[in-house]
Symmetry: C2
Subunit: 243 residues, 2 copies
């Protein structure tokens, strides 16, 4: 068991231990949660008849649990809701590494691989609470301002919860390495960072709700880094912010 | 067979046909290649003993082939190089969709799922050509400026090639939908676009190659959209640009 304050760690097994460049790996909740909470789109890996599928999907986290949802017609949800083994990967491209030899070219990135088995949440009250939590976590206080979801609408949602059994985080955030053989070679070398930011808001025309976004949407101001937006949204929601 | 000019299409089967919201799906090479060529990091899905794994990795495309590489110690490469079925997914988060009811909240995105089986490229000449192509495709003309890669270095690289057997693209790029029940509800609604751009270059200190990046690196100028950067790099390399 892990303490509830996010200071615990995952225990790697053969499944989750990072083999390549283990010095870039971390297994503590702070590192894993920090990356999971910086994203909204995950890649869910599952297997049907020996064939792997990787489906991008929106997700959110609460403690050691990940949630995602969709419509009943989703093959991915039908598969994972049966308790099949799942790998959920979240990653960010952070930069282009330009070296003085071909093999020193690389990418900076952050990633988490989380393993577990999902379960279907079918209780309508639980579905409602979870769907509200997803909106609330992104746009604090917003569920109270919205047209309430009907039970019929909730019944058309397939929602799953996955307790993270194991997870590893991997980060590369440095410049190009250098080899003795590269010495004195006159090619420029360094990093081109990749930055992901919020663009200018596009109010939906014809809905009578144009103009500036309301204060609950303040984290989504133009130019904000996506990392900062999601951290600010999480803080407003009351999620402990990972570092 | 498909014409070599990128105007063909993939034939969806049960494996690749999009079930959810098929109106968002495309199977033509232009759509699939356009998304694949806008990224540098893919999520490779594979199966070991029934357990799915999703590993983020750098990749590039040439015609109907995808390439990626790593070190010999990589479990992912060891698995896929044996010809196991693989799903390679590339996706981009393009925006937050904010509706007037909880269920109308969504994300804008572009994604491709590509299916196939990879093969190991072991011929040293082929490895050299492919690794040069990867650098050249990102930074046109750069391989000629770099300290040449040695055969020993090439031998430590595991490189695989996957012919794309099937692929589907899926795109959501519109505003929030609206339901009759949402009518007149006074919550702001619209889209917060997500923009990914190149940040300020960070020359590597102490390598005597500081200062402004050389002209081969022009597409990586500060503020450029990543899409535009990769399109400009592809054009400079001579890759037919997908639309």
């Amino acid at each position: 068991m892990s303490p509830p304050d996010g200071t615990g760690a995952f225990t790697p097994t053969d499944r989750s231990r990072v083999r390549r460049r283990p010095q870039r790996a971390r297994y503590d909740e702070a590192a894993v949660y920090g990356i999971l909470d910086a994203g909204v789109m995950a890649h869910v890996g599952y297997v049907i008849d020996g064939q792997p599928f990787v489906t991008p999907t929106a997700y959110w986290r609460e403690d050691r649990k990940l949630y995602w949802h969709g419509a009943a017609a989703s093959r991915m949800l039908a598969t994972v809701a049966q308790g099949a083994p799942v790998c959920v990967t979240v990653s960010f491209l952070d930069g282009f590494i330009v070296g003085r030899s071909g093999i020193m070219h690389s990418l900076n990135y952050r990633s988490v691989m989380a393993f577990g088995r999902a379960r279907l949440i079918s209780d309508l009250g639980e579905v409602r609470a979870a769907m509200d939590a997803f909106v609330d976590r992104l746009y604090a206080g917003r569920p109270l301002k919205l047209r309430p979801t009907t039970d019929d609408e909730l019944r058309r949602i397939t929602l799953v919860e996955m307790e993270i059994e194991e997870a590893s985080a991997k980060v590369r955030d440095t410049g190009p390495g250098d080899l003795p053989a590269d010495e004195g070679w006159p090619a420029w070398c360094g990093v081109f960072p990749v930055e992901t930011r919020i663009g200018p808001a596009l109010p939906e025309p014809g809905m009578g709700t144009g103009g500036a976004p309301t204060p609950d949407l303040a984290p989504y101001r133009e130019g904000a880094r996506l990392d900062d937006t999601l951290a600010a949204a999480a803080a407003a929601y009351g999620l402990p912010v990972s570092t």
